[in-house]
Assembly symmetry: C2
Homo-oligomer: 148 residues x 2
């Protein structure tokens, strides 16, 4: 009777991670407002706001996106006029990315919501549980042997 129930999908870490990520994405979308930024677009703008100028691949590493994904995200942000691309005079392979005026205004106006989104995502947990969860999750998010 238990022969084929030895493996319960609902208790597997991968399945739960996927569902938790789904739920977070839904919360993100409900709270990001009319800018209609996606989680990845938001992450790219946040990092760009911190660093002022970075190359495309470097920004990809900082936000955990591979080169192909980054290319699409940047293309969409650039087509909306939120970021600017210019060639690196010291390395003609590179594109230097920076926020446009609109991009800076957009992320400045929207970044407060970021903490609210995280709070709402973690709302099912108590305050102490949230700390523990983030601590453990951070360990699980670490890739082996890289990190810029």
């Amino acid at each position: 009777m238990t022969s084929k129930e030895g493996y319960i999908l609902e208790t597997q870490a991968g399945h739960l991670l996927r569902r938790a990520h789904q739920r977070h994405s839904a919360i993100f979308q409900e709270n990001i407002g009319e800018s209609q930024l996606t989680p990845l677009q938001f992450a790219a703008l946040v990092k760009l706001r911190d660093l002022e100028e970075v190359s495309q691949n470097h920004l990809g590493r900082l936000t955990a996106m591979d080169a192909a994904t980054m290319q699409g995200v940047i293309k969409r942000l650039a087509s909306r006029g939120l970021i600017e691309r210019r060639p690196d005079p010291n390395d003609r392979r590179r594109l230097i990315l920076s926020l446009s005026a609109e991009g800076k205004a957009c992320i400045d106006a929207i970044i407060q919501n970021g903490s609210g989104i995280t709070a709402q995502t973690l709302a099912p947990l108590s305050s102490s549980e949230q700390k523990i969860f983030l601590d453990l999750l951070t360990k699980l998010a670490q890739m082996n042997g890289n990190g810029d």
Copy 2:
């Protein structure tokens, strides 16, 4: 100096969930063997193995995939001969899904790896931490007010 560092991307739940899910996917792929099943395809086969027969949308709800996503996953599994589709005589809208002989053999042979993949995903945590983490993650994976 801290004016623009108030929001740290690396400590946000959404970013960490995304990275942890990325890491799990990589582990999954390294351990799934030559079947080359994806996490979603694996999940669909596992559920189908438990239930013998389900409609497509119902299986989607059980595995947390929307109808459009499910359609693609099922189409690929069917084209590989791992599952079979037949119309429901009691409801002509529905497709009844079931494992084919090859599908059953495939998932039977591969499901043992499932626990290993979870173990490897959680390996950075101690045994007691793993229990706590899965408990908290389960709470965060719960969508509000549904679940079939």
